[in-house]
Symmetry: C2
Subunit: 223 residues, 2 copies
């Protein structure tokens, strides 16, 4: 499960201070699938980065399966993330010098699993991308890059998947394929899934929607 | 106006050949506002890059106001684009070392117009971003970066604006603000506007929707 206790995030640029998160507390049950919605600039990416251990809170605690991950050292956090967390970034951050297939294989190889190539091909197939496996990111469309990022994030069958606006660059058919695949992973593999999205049609596939505005949780709705 | 005559685009990677555009012909009247829709990977970005002189066709002609831009030399094309074309890229490509304000001022300064700072601030205000003008791209949310890219593209009041999925990272309110602003520019300044989008709600603000699939124009609908 994911527990946040009074998480604050303040960005300091010289004199200016931006309070991106103003004290967020929440608990997401293990195996649930939730959406995070809110205006542009409201704090979604900041919140997801802190949950996923990609960034640290200025104040407050982040507990994943009762472990306070914001206290881990680099090495422990890195291993924890590789084994337990899959992250789809808002601007995907694929490695530009590697092909789609290699990008998806990388986390599998880091974990030390066998048959990384076969596993990576299976996931790319589920995202309708096998025909592009040998393309580098610059040779892929925007939506194809986004789908490779999704494939990479689920490659290790993480217990927690964090997806930051994973369908913004996809047409409705591809977007639907993605959310149906995620729902399947949630139901079959009990993967906890947190999705930031601007698309209420995507949010409807989740069990709860968390609404954020100006760095504060303003509402939680059961779908 | 924009005229394409049998435009083809083939990407060669060693042995592999990808035919991204299979012979596209179209004519977009000066001062019209059109949408381009189609599945992920269907060729929208490729088509927009060729129209905007960011890329070149393998075969065929691109005429903007009766000038064959795919024949221009670098210097002429660069000047033509700075004076006449605004481009919002799918992954914005803001200059990371400059602030939002500086990124928007740059095309105005290149053109040699006076009061670049004042003009840039006016446009940022229209996109609800004045409070972020001194932030560099890494200090902006995904949707804020997208809006800075839009501001930069319209800074020189181009006669042709090309926007590649400009609202994918925006909540519905911000997306609406953007499309309403573009419609205003189209009606008041007679700006020709071509928008690739996956969102039919955005496409409805245009006069025509061009549908592309597998690199071919399959339909044009009047809205
Ligand atoms: N440099 C390249 N080499 C090989 N294939 C390429 C290259 N660039 C793009 N492609 C392929 O060309 C096709 C069209 O790409 P394009 O970026 O135009 O699609 P798109 O319609 O913009 O998609 P999206 O909605 O995902 O942004 C894609 O299938 C892509 O894989
Ligand atoms: N490094 C930084 N320094 C200062 N302010 C920052 C920094 N990073 C983000 N911000 C600000 O924090 C706020 C929250 O950003 P965040 O990326 O979490 O928003 P978001 O909800 O993901 O928005 P979007 O829907 O546009 O992606 C934004 O207003 C942004 O300008
Ligand atoms: Mg974001
Ligand atoms: Mg594209």
């Amino acid at each position: 499960n994911v527990i946040l206790q009074n998480v604050k995030k303040v960005y300091k640029n010289g004199q200016e201070e931006v309070v991106a998160l103003k004290g967020i507390s929440l608990e997401i049950e293990k195996g649930s699938m939730v959406a995070l919605m809110g205006p542009s600039g409201s704090g979604k990416s900041t919140l997801l980065h802190i949950i996923g251990g990609v960034d640290f809170p200025t104040e407050g605690k982040v507990l994943i399966d009762d472990q306070e991950i914001n206290k881990f050292d680099d090495k422990t956090l890195s291993k924890f993330r590789n084994h337990n967390i899959g992250f789809v970034f808002q601007f995907h951050y694929l490695l530009p010098e590697f092909t789609a297939l290699e990008n998806v294989m990388l986390p599998i190889q880091i974990k030390g699993e066998k048959n990384p190539e076969k596993k990576a091909e299976e996931i790319l197939t589920k995202l309708n991308l096998l025909h592009r496996k040998n393309h580098k990111p610059a040779q892929l469309s925007g939506g194809e890059q986004q789908r490779v990022a999704i494939a990479r994030a689920i490659a290790n069958n993480p217990s927690l998947l964090i997806a930051d606006e994973p369908t913004g660059n996809l047409d409705s058919q591809n977007a639907k394929n993605v959310i149906i695949l995620l729902k399947e992973l949630n139901e079959k593999n009990k993967m906890t899934i947190i999705i930031a999205t601007h698309d209420v049609e995507i949010a409807k596939y989740c069990q709860y929607i968390y609404f954020i505005r100006d760095g504060m949780l303003v509402n939680v709705e059961k779908v």
